[in-house]
Symmetry: C2
Subunit: 137 residues, 2 copies
DNA sequence: CAGTATCCTCATAGATACTG
DNA sequence: CAGTATCTATGAGGATACTG
């Protein structure tokens, strides 16, 4: 595997000079947002939101994700204690992924953000269009 | 400038085959989370949370951010309608950045996520340590 | 002061092939 | 079925130098 499970963007840059509580929080936020904001984690968390799923089940539902990326995303989430990985030693093998209590807790604020995003998507897209028109030609 | 203001990870991959409402929401979420989850946007949004700031003021406060990345991040946020950029044609020039109404609205769910992150950071770090011990040898 | 313009590096993510 | 292994490209992000 070429990609480490401890990506650089999770262990963040230079510590703040001021021990500002806002900043301490910010580092934590950013650490979680890096995890949650990467290309696929949200999809996986949301998909697991309505019950445990198997590997290829996730792959089918999320569509567009490569096998490799699904594996890496799941390992990352597992590392952070957000999902559990349960292996059933049958033939063919079966592996279930499920949100932990922690993972379900994370799903809430993420969904809040999601609802905000959904509600304001028209505004944002409008702003993007206007900005691009001002700057394109 | 080598980096586009319309990064590929914001205009997302293949559209879902099923018009699942959950999925439509997910794409929106992911779009915003990509913006919010990139390396610096959260810091900027949070820093602007307590009032407008100037370019170098932001650069000093956020520390670790390069001039280039601050510029790009601010442009991205401006493009999405989350911050305004106000130029005072004085000498030396002065440019103020400020959260828009939209930006302040985003700050709320982001802070919610941030508080969750801060509250559960010990759990997450514990999980990471245990995972790494299981797999490092 | 507030940026652009370049150059460079390395991590992220896709495609493909192979395996227990 | 559920992964690993390998190769490759793309582009995010840093360093530095220059400018209105």
């Amino acid at each position: 595997m070429s990609t480490s499970l401890k990506p650089a963007h999770i262990d963040l840059p230079a510590p703040p000079t001021r021990p500002d509580p806002n900043h301490a929080g910010c580092r934590g936020v950013a650490s979680v947002l890096s995890r949650v904001g990467d290309k696929w984690s949200v999809f996986v968390i949301m998909t697991l939101g309505d019950g445990p799923k198997r590997f290829n089940e996730l792959k089918r539902i999320i569509d567009g994700i490569s096998q490799r990326m699904l594996t890496l995303t799941l390992r990352g989430l597992e590392r952070d204690g957000l999902v559990t990985r349960t292996v059933f030693p049958t033939i063919p093998p079966r592996v279930d992924y499920e949100l932990t209590e922690l993972g379900r807790g994370l799903a809430d604020p993420v969904q809040a953000l999601g609802q905000w995003a959904f509600a304001h998507l028209p505004e944002i897209e409008g702003a993007r269009t206007r900005f691009d028109q001002r700057n394109d030609t």
